[in-house]
């Protein structure tokens, strides 16, 4: 395997109800280090299922996921260790409501990386400053706006120094005027060379930031390529239909 490939899935399948519902139907994809991959597609196309199976929040029925040279679908693999290197951002933020922003961010590094508390707090404050939330460190999630919550969720994932960031529709639950602030944080991450896999409906973001756009439908990859190709000159009829309805 080539050493600049960080995630490779081979024939990834996820079936429900025996094999009646095929959420994922044989997805082969290679993601290079530093690449920003944006997955688009109609709802029910399996794009979220695919993203969630990358860190085994969904257990695939078939196929393998290779992360940094290890097959993480192997039952003997230490999934908790691999997950530490894959930051995940959810549609509904999933901040811990009973903890302050600072505690949300420092819990995992203190417990899992054995980072001293002072160092973790320092690092958290630095990250909060980067996303313009240093004055909200001691606020509880319920006191934040949606956009602020999602920015906190992003920096919480960054606290673990992940190799890859997975974004599962990070702006879908936000009021329109808050989408920009979250996308800005993601853009700056992309600029710094973070490997990112993003499931989104923000076509503007895909055009501007993606290195590669994947179009999924019915649990399969229909088309992939540079954003210019996909958006201006889609070859597949399904892609044309989809883009026609969203753009």
């Amino acid at each position: 395997m080539k050493d600049n490939i960080i995630i490779e899935t081979t024939n990834l399948c996820k079936y429900y109800n025996g094999d009646k519902i095929k959420a994922l139907d044989g997805v082969d994809l290679q993601i290079k280090k530093g690449e920003v991959v944006v997955i688009i597609g109609p709802s029910g196309s399996g794009k979220s299922t695919y993203l969630r199976s990358l860190n085994l929040l969904e257990i695939p029925t078939n196929g393998t996921i290779n992360f940094e040279g290890n097959d993480i679908t192997d039952p003997k693999a230490n999934i908790n260790k691999h997950r530490q290197k894959m930051g995940m951002v959810f549609q509904h933020f999933n901040l811990f409501p009973n903890m302050t922003v600072l505690k949300n961010m420092t819990l995992a590094p203190i417990k899992l990386l054995k980072m001293p508390k002072a160092d973790a707090s320092l690092k958290a404050m630095e990250l909060l400053k980067r996303v313009g939330l240093e004055d909200r460190a001691f606020a509880y999630p319920s006191q934040l706006s949606g956009g602020q919550k999602q920015r906190v969720a992003i920096v919480r994932a960054l606290m673990m120094n992940p190799e890859v960031m997975l974004f599962d529709e990070p702006t879908s639950a936000l009021d329109p005027e808050m989408v920009g602030e979250v996308l800005d944080v993601m853009k700056s991450l992309a600029k710094e060379g973070m490997t990112m896999v993003v499931v989104t409906h923000e076509m503007g973001f895909a055009k501007e930031v993606a290195d590669r756009v994947i179009f999924m439908s019915e649990g399969k990859i229909f088309e992939e390529g540079a954003p210019e190709e996909i958006f201006t000159n889609p070859t597949h009829q399904r892609t044309q239909q989809f883009l026609h309805s969203v753009l």
Partner: protein, 242 residues
């Protein structure tokens, strides 16, 4: 009026002061408190363990890929189910007497037998309370914990249980109050608890009013004080929801 008051005073002296009869209430109260606090400890520990086993079984059984582990897990879960069914399906007095006269027939330490019986009984109720608390937490919290790299037990301990605890505090307090009052049947196995203490005085003085009302008032005061304490704790835990 003054006659009625004098009667009351005489009654009081007869029941509590003469022959130091108040001591029956004091030792009774002590025994009631010992049984309640020790059995609540057993109940909470047992309840949390059973609740975690049962909710983990529901959540993770499908994901276990070793046949042997699945089998073991299934047996443990079935054992928990039997425990809940039997304990919740039979009266506490019967359980207490079975413990005292059959299982621990050779033990003369009736206080400890009662602690075990009440603890096991309370554990079944606490288990269902804790389980409802765990289930009340959004699955997204689990996923967030797991995605950061926490294992299942760590996610439970650091993320789920603290949130669940806040939600179930009123129900847990209720269970504690029920348990405190349920210990009044400890007299069935020769324990001199608070209720028994009052009853002994009543039998000695042939006057029912004073000792029984006194017993009732003591239970009531304990419950009121405890409720106040829980309210303070609850307010503290809720400070993240403004």
């Amino acid at each position: 009026m003054s006659e009625w008051f004098a009667d009351l005073k005489a009654d009081f002296i007869l029941n509590f002061v003469q022959e130091n009869r108040w001591k029956f209430l004091a030792t009774g109260l002590r025994n009631t408190l010992i049984i309640t606090f020790l059995s609540v400890l057993i109940g909470v520990v047992l309840g949390i363990i059973v609740a975690i086993i049962k909710s983990s079984y529901d959540k993770t059984y499908k994901e276990i890929n070793s046949r042997f582990k699945k089998f073991i897990f299934k047996i443990i879960n079935a054992f928990c189910d039997v425990y809940l069914t039997v304990i919740r399906g039979t009266p506490i007095v019967v359980q207490l007497m079975i413990m005292y006269y059959i299982i621990f027939a050779s033990s003369r330490n009736s206080l400890m037998v009662a602690v075990i019986a009440f603890g096991i009984n309370s554990g079944a109720y606490v288990a269902e309370i804790v389980r409802s608390g765990i289930m009340s937490i959004d699955p997204g919290q689990f996923e967030a914990g797991r995605s950061l790299g926490f294992g299942y037990p760590q996610t439970m301990l650091y993320i789920i249980l603290p949130q669940a605890f806040k939600n179930i505090l009123p129900a847990l307090a209720n269970e504690f109050i029920v348990l405190l009052k349920e210990t009044s049947v400890a007299g069935y196995v020769t324990i001199r608890d608070l209720t028994m203490g009052g009853n002994i005085i009543r039998a000695a003085t042939y006057s029912a009013f004073m000792p029984l009302v006194a017993v009732a008032v003591i239970y009531l005061v304990m419950v009121i004080v405890f409720t106040k304490l829980v309210n303070i704790l609850e307010r503290r835990l809720r400070k993240s929801e403004r």
